[in-house]
Symmetry: C2
Subunit: 424 residues, 2 copies
């Protein structure tokens, strides 16, 4: 099926501000609450939120095989389970409805008033009920930096890292949409000289600049996903801040991995940008040496050129960008991650989320966490208000952005922000 | 509210076989499919499955504040969310309905035919939709054994272990009820001399003898559960086999913990035995030295005396018991696990599951995994059919049992079994 919605020449009758993340070529999917307290599945063009439930009730999706209530739900899980063919039909249809020159909805005021909302008047929700969330560790630069800081600079990259997309299970319950404040976590930290572990608010609160993909039902328990079909099971991506308390993490993580150092909050951007919308931004990934085992070998453009940014905004100050990275630096691709995840027969379901791990690039200003940027606090970062940061302070808002840009077309992810509240 | 259902003198008009796990003092909760393809929430006395949805429709729960469809669901999540007071009212009421001398249901054939089923005629389902599953590592003997085998016998117990209930996030999607076959997982294993990792079916497939508890909504994100109220948020327990592929696990687990070595299958017994039913079997846990930090300190009888057993049944042979342990050996109690889990503000929801980790006792025949029982295959176990096992073979069924017994009262968990199928 052609991705007509991707045509860069398409223009819409909706007003789209310059440099918007949401031109008519994006058409992301999300869930929002309207002023009338109705939860619905929707999309967005420019600063206009579009109620897909209302559009469907008004007959705009005729001919597409959808259940009547598919968009009148508080998660996208069922729609995602409908599969790629359906996502494409809906995305292309939405693109048609809002195409400049199509007056069907534009001139029908009664319909338009039911379907279109100012983005300021809706409240974004979590787009999916995340059944299981896995976080990978797929940037070689990040794994090397963390290995140097937490373990041994001489053997920073562990022997398994170049053979396996290393990952671990994360906590689903504490995934929150952009804008939800983050409470600084309490925890146990490494013992002082008296041998008694410290207890109190984390002193080393950090962000991790990541992306995450959302899957559809990929396989039954006991079967597995082949590399060639892996991307068919990826619905789309969100930006992802994997908040981390480095002092809690350092004390607890051996031998079973990160736990309370991560599970207090994970922020995502609430619009899922489809893999289809990102198709024009495919690019080569890093060279994989040694060659992965046959089940993990992938040919062609495995990665996506998505610019990533993290900024810190003090409570009464302006934001300062502290890191610029790119999703294309990821060593193990999303398809490789998903394929490896199911190798043992583990079943992946609609709405599951898989994080990339921190995406650090090759240069020091592309490191995706304060741990790496300040080298564990040794080199504090100066913000535009003159203050310095080793890690994140109470009152700081961490602002992440992700977008693709090529030939005048920009496809972005919108807000991925969280303000840190003091510990309680 | 009194736990009248716990009275050891109560007798029921239902026929209960000798040594049944399910006397009238148990009244566990589960979900089953009837012969008529109806899914309902139910309980069990002896070998009789009891349809709570039908009982409720027939008016037997009058006076208890329950929504009409609370038992007409395919999971217990909503019922569990109703809270402890409601669970107790329902459990006491069921106990009254089936008490010897109460003829209300017994003599009403029309009602009884709608409510009572032979256990052989129902198909047990997963009792809850597990939002998040956490596995702890709470047996000191197990942690010491694994530390000796995987790392350093001189420093087997890591420095954090005596201060924190160490745990990690597990995979929810692959939790399955007793009776579901397990497919031997494929995976990557440690490189041979050529430096290339091995790929193929796991050769070191193992069980882990565990218990797991199911929670209700315990706290909001950013707040935490205090020790004194922790048990109020525990609905009940199931037995739990945390299947493990030791060769996959050994190669992948550093530094982020177990992943594909565990996520291929986790078997639970499908009846949730309430914490209330286990109340008579409270007992002291191991002495905790050093004393836990104040937030983790718990007084009194923290543990439960639950006998645990694992047996291996070859395809055409009899079962041989290979391990006898006890839930009371667990160093960190359930209340401590739950309290620690929420210390950082991580929210725990109705239907979440927390595993104990392998419960190994002090003697060699009480070790809760083949890894420990055979000391990584050095001391194979002889089965009653004359064959030997270092780990689990294709065609073997691992049979786990858990029950409490005191003064002639036995409260048990029923079946927790899984047969291993060859890799595919």
């Amino acid at each position: 099926m052609p991705l007509t919605a991707n045509n860069p020449n398409r223009q819409t009758w909706i007003d789209v501000p310059e440099n918007s993340d949401f031109p008519i070529q994006n058409i992301p999917f999300g869930v929002f609450l309207t002023k009338n307290d109705i939860i619905t599945i929707g999309t967005r063009i420019g600063d206009t939120a579009i109620d897909l439930g209302a559009l469907h009730q008004l007959g705009y999706f005729k001919g597409i095989d959808l259940t009547d209530d598919i968009f009148l739900q508080d998660t996208l899980n069922d729609f995602i389970a409908d599969g790629r063919k359906t996502w494409r039909l809906v995305r292309n249809r939405v693109s048609d409805i809002f195409l400049k020159g199509n007056h069907e909805l534009q001139t029908n005021r009664a319909h338009a008033s039911k379907v279109l909302f100012d983005i300021k008047d809706v409240e974004m929700q979590l787009p999916v009920d995340v059944g299981d969330y896995t976080d990978f560790y797929a940037s070689k630069e990040h794994a090397t930096n963390v290995g140097s800081l937490f373990r041994d600079p001489e053997n920073a990259l562990l022997p398994n890292w170049l053979h396996i997309p290393i990952g671990y299970h994360g906590r689903s319950s504490s995934i929150i949409p952009s804008g939800t404040p983050i409470r600084r976590p309490m925890g146990q930290m490494k013992p002082g000289e008296d041998g008694i572990p410290n207890f109190g608010p984390s002193k080393l609160l950090d962000f991790e600049l990541e992306m995450a993909f959302i899957t559809t039902d990929a396989n039954h328990l006991g079967s597995r996903v082949e590399m060639a079909e892996a991307e068919d099971h990826i619905f789309g991506l969100v930006q992802f801040n994997d908040w981390s308390a480095r002092d809690i993490q350092a004390w607890e993580y051996v031998p079973l991995g990160p736990f309370l150092g991560k599970s207090f909050a994970s922020t995502i951007s609430p619009w899922i940008v489809t893999l289809d919308a990102l198709e024009p931004f495919r690019t080569e990934g890093p060279v994989q040496d040694p060659t992965p085992l046959p089940y993990l070998k992938q040919e062609g453009k495995m990665n996506f050129d998505i610019k990533l940014q993290a900024a810190i905004k003090p409570q009464n100050g302006e934001a300062t960008v502290v890191c610029e990275s790119n999703f294309k630096y990821m060593y193990w691709s999303m398809a490789q991650q998903l394929t490896h995840h199911t190798l043992n027969g583990c079943n992946v379901r609609s709405g599951d989320m898989m994080g990339s791990g921190t995406i650090s690039g090759p240069t020091k200003d592309s490191y995706g966490s304060m741990l790496e940027l300040t080298w564990r606090g040794q080199n504090p970062i100066k913000l535009s208000d003159g203050t310095e940061r080793k890690f994140i302070n109470d009152g700081d808002t961490v602002i992440m952005r992700a977008y693709c840009e090529k030939d005048g077309l920009r496809i972005g992810f919108g807000d991925c922000d969280g303000e840190v509240l003091p510990a309680k």
